[in-house]
């Protein structure tokens, strides 16, 4: 893999916490550390597996490992895998830490900036919070993907720190490969919709589990006549998302709601989307979310959920490595969410399974990059150049 070229810096906006020389250098180190793992360390696991683990398994069992569990039980004893895992976990912890430091430095002032950014003279969108909303257990049992305090914790009144930390961390996590606005998943679905449904013109759009609205904004830009709503259970994310959208000049109506059951009327939306939301929930949660999508969609509407690909049909070693996050990056529902019968999921939600669809769609950012440089070499998170989508028409 060659060095990546032409990865643009994250676009700065008023809500994004400023960094000092050294804070920026520290975040840059983590990004480089992660790139290094992907380029030079990750692949060694496959090498160890093929050279050592698989032949030993074959000698003992007279067959190759059939499941990711059989692969796991052998690999966890391999010093190489242990080192890889220790480094990857550490890189994740350092990522959050490096993004917390500039936020903690003067949180009160940063929260004031967020409030100012939300109060534009000519407001475009809106923010509706509900302090009584219960935070679902899949957010409180562990802090998802190891963000300390998760999405929902407030460290002072009217706090947006979770959003401040998260916006920068996503850029570091994806090593810039989600684009300068961290918006690749939303932008990729928009590109897919424009290609496959050029006449589809949704009047009302809802983004579920929107966090800071990285993926929400591209819909508002692509469908300027649509009313765009976005919900999340976490108030700190929504405060930040609202400030960010206002500063970027995009109208989004944010509200603090659980996607399992919202206060919108039946048939309110023509397009409902989510981006790496489903794996952060639970079996009951995901069932409820699909039911709610069915209730909220108007006839002829469409729901689309972006995720990483399911394990079905995947080589057991690849599935084992893709499953790393379940235990090691605080993603308890990751495994099960990658093994769902999606047609059955749609059906229990009230959808016609004949109108269910699944697709691997190209990354909008990578397509743009390839056009620009003609030298683009894929990386890692999203580096496959593809997103998996699951959806249903109503």
């Amino acid at each position: 893999m060659n060095a990546r070229v032409d990865i643009p810096a994250q676009v700065e906006h008023r809500a994004l916490p400023p960094v000092t020389h050294d804070e920026y250098a520290r975040q840059e180190f983590v990004r480089t550390f992660k790139e290094h793992l992907v380029k030079h360390v990750h692949g060694g696991n496959r090498a160890v597996y093929e050279a050592k683990v698989k032949p030993a398994f074959q000698r003992k069992h007279k067959r190759a490992p059939k499941t990711r569990f059989e692969v796991r039980d052998e690999m966890v004893r391999e010093p190489y895998y242990q080192m890889f895992s220790a480094l990857l976990r550490t890189s994740q912890e350092m990522m959050w830490s490096s993004c917390q430091i500039p936020v903690a430095r003067d949180l009160e002032a940063l929260n004031k900036t967020i409030k100012q950014a939300q109060k534009k003279k000519k407001a475009l969108g809106s923010l509706r919070l509900n302090p009584e909303l219960p935070i679902p257990k899949y957010h409180t049992a562990v802090d998802i993907h190891c963000q300390p305090g998760g999405y929902h914790t407030e460290f002072m009144p009217e706090d947006a720190s979770a959003g401040m930390v998260y916006d920068r961390a996503v850029h570091v996590y994806a090593m810039g490969q989600m684009g300068p606005f961290n918006n690749d998943m939303g932008a990729s679905i928009v590109m897919w919709l424009k290609k496959h449904y050029p006449d589809f013109s949704p009047k009302r759009i809802l983004d579920l589990g929107c966090s800071v609205g990285h993926s929400t904004v591209p819909y508002a830009e692509a469908f300027p006549n649509a009313e765009v709503h976005a919900i999340d259970v976490a108030a700190p994310m929504l405060r930040y998302a609202h400030a960010r959208a206002e500063d970027l000049g995009v109208a989004v109506h944010y509200s603090q709601q659980n996607a399992e059951g919202t206060d919108f009327a039946d048939g309110s939306f023509d397009l409902i989307v989510s981006h790496i939301l489903l794996h952060e929930t639970s079996q009951r949660g995901i069932n409820n979310i699909v039911k709610e999508c069915h209730r909220l969609l108007a006839k002829g509407g469409m729901m689309i959920h972006a995720e990483t690909p399911p394990y079905a049909g995947m080589d057991p070693f690849d599935a084992f490595l893709l499953d790393w996050d379940t235990r090691n990056n605080n993603e308890p529902f990751w495994s099960r969410s990658h093994e769902l019968d999606l047609k059955a999921l749609s059906q229990q939600g009230g959808f016609d399974p004949a109108l269910e669809f699944e697709d691997l769609i190209p990354s909008a950012f990578q397509v743009a990059q390839a056009t620009r440089s003609h030298k683009f070499q894929g990386g890692d998170f999203g580096g496959g150049g593809l997103w998996f989508i699951y959806g249903n028409r109503k």
Binding site: A86, K137, T153
Partner: protein, 130 residues
């Protein structure tokens, strides 16, 4: 760098250790923390060199002769304190887990999101005054 007085530092959830002896994991985390801080210094030195090249200025003898004032010495001591807290993050996070009661087995989290059993107990985040 007193991040801990403002934000929570340890992500809730039992941390995985990968080596037979978890001390190895700890040392790796420290080494990488140290590497990160060395990289920060490298960038800083690089900035200094570029600025000196562009704008002229500092003689080596002046650097050798520089004596920090009490306030500069205090600033540097505070920097070192923050530096060590980054390098030794892994050690601190284990203590934080004990301090916040974040000690439940991770498997219980996986099970609990699917059942009515209560989530593993956690203490409320203490809001410290500045």
């Amino acid at each position: 760098m007193s991040v801990g007085s403002t934000l929570k530092r340890k992500a809730r959830g039992e941390r995985p250790y990968f080596f037979e002896d978890p001390s190895v994991d700890r040392v790796i985390a420290m080494v990488m923390g140290l590497a990160g801080e060395v990289a920060v210094l490298h960038d800083r030195l690089d900035t200094l060199e570029r600025l000196v090249e562009q704008q002229g200025g500092v003689k080596r003898a002046a650097i050798d002769a520089y004596k920090p004032s009490a306030s500069v010495a205090a600033e540097r001591a505070a920097w070192r304190e923050g530096f060590l807290s980054e390098v030794l993050r892994i050690v601190e996070s284990e203590v934080e887990a004990l301090a916040t009661g974040d000690t439940a087995k991770y498997d219980t989290a996986i099970k609990s999101v699917e059942t009515d059993a209560p989530a593993p107990k956690r203490k409320p985040v203490a809001r410290k005054k500045k």
